[in-house]
């Protein structure tokens, strides 16, 4: 028994009384268990094949177990990471769409308000022209005063709408965490609504013009949301006419 077997070779499941003496070559055979099976015969004539097979199975099982464990842990880690990215991407998409949709809705409402301001502006021009006609001067002057007040009221309402939308936009820039993603994420809108518009000049300084977009071209705003933990981002572009007469919705900024 002193020459017996390394633990791989020993038949651990056998009761000690039933263990048969192993040849000295058996220990060697199992020591390099994954290698060739030693089928040499012991001087007693007994084959070592079974002993080596037992060791072979055990020696094979342990590395397989360890490998499977590593594989499983690696796969879980990789999948968790991929899923965190997907969750963050989904959250950024929602935040970007919220901002772009809010901007688009604001432009739509502003375009409607602009129609009123534009109408009063034209009416004031007409009234002031009528004031030059003899006989119609007084009536035109009275009408012009009413129109001026209406123009100022509509313009003030537009300003209020603008400021309200700009404040709401600022509060939406921090992309709120979702149920699946808690990492830090933020959005940027370029240009910011507070500095994106200007009032058009009119022929008379007391008549207020419509609000139009400052930047020329079809791009009214670019929304860019990005996560800080993972390198993922979402970009959207709000398109339309700078005079806000025609809006073309928002598209993926990364698609040419």
């Amino acid at each position: 028994m002193d020459k017996l077997p390394s633990k791989l070779c020993s038949a651990w499941y056998l009761p000690s009384s039933s263990r048969s003496p192993r040849p000295s070559s058996c220990g060697k055979a199992s020591a390099n268990a994954a290698g060739s099976i030693n089928n040499s015969r012991h001087p007693t004539g007994r084959s070592c094949e079974t002993c080596a097979e037992n060791g072979f199975l055990l020696a094979l099982l342990l590395p397989i177990l360890v490998l499977l464990g590593f594989f499983l842990l690696g796969t879980i880690g990789f999948t968790e990471r991929a899923q965190a990215r997907a969750a963050l991407q989904a959250r950024l998409d929602v935040c970007a769409v919220k901002l772009a949709a809010a901007r688009e809705r604001f432009y739509f409402r502003l375009a409607k308000a602009n129609e009123g301001v534009e109408a009063t502006k034209v009416a004031i021009y007409a009234a002031r022209a009528a004031m030059l006609i003899p006989g119609a001067g007084e009536a035109a002057a009275a009408g012009q005063q009413e129109l001026l007040a209406l123009n100022a009221t509509l313009a003030a309402a537009e300003d209020g709408l603008w400021m309200e939308a700009a404040t709401a936009e600022l509060s939406r820039l921090r992309c709120a965490p979702s149920g699946y993603s808690r990492e830090s994420a933020a959005c940027l809108v370029s240009p910011l609504l507070s500095g994106a518009l200007q009032r058009q000049k009119t022929l008379f300084p007391d008549v207020r013009g419509t609000l139009v977009h400052l930047a020329p071209g079809n791009s009214l705003a670019r929304v860019h949301c990005t996560g800080l933990a993972h390198a993922v981002a979402t970009g959207l572009e709000v398109r339309g006419d700078p005079a806000l007469r025609q809006l073309q919705g928002y598209t993926d900024a990364y698609t040419p």
Binding site: A11, Y13, L14, P15, S18, S20, E49, T50, C51, E53, N54, L57, L58, L61, I64, L65, L68, L72, T75, I76, T79, Q83, A86, A87, A90, R91, D93, V94, V97, K98, A101, S178, G179, Y180
Partner: protein, 55 residues
């Protein structure tokens, strides 16, 4: 020829190996299903949120 006890030992080892492999496969399948379902929920909630915003 292996003795009766040795045969039993081999069978036991084979059983343990099979048990481990089956348990591993079943566990991996369950983990995969859980991840898949979570991923589908993420995408579904994203689509619903975007649809609600656009409405």
């Amino acid at each position: 020829m292996p003795t009766r006890h040795e045969k039993g030992g081999i069978l036991l080892e084979l059983f343990i190996a099979t048990f481990i492999l089956v348990t591993f496969t079943a566990g991996a399948a369950r983990i995969h299903a859980a991840f898949r379902s979570r991923f589908e929920r993420i995408v579904q909630e994203r689509n619903e949120a975007i649809r609600a915003i656009r409405r």
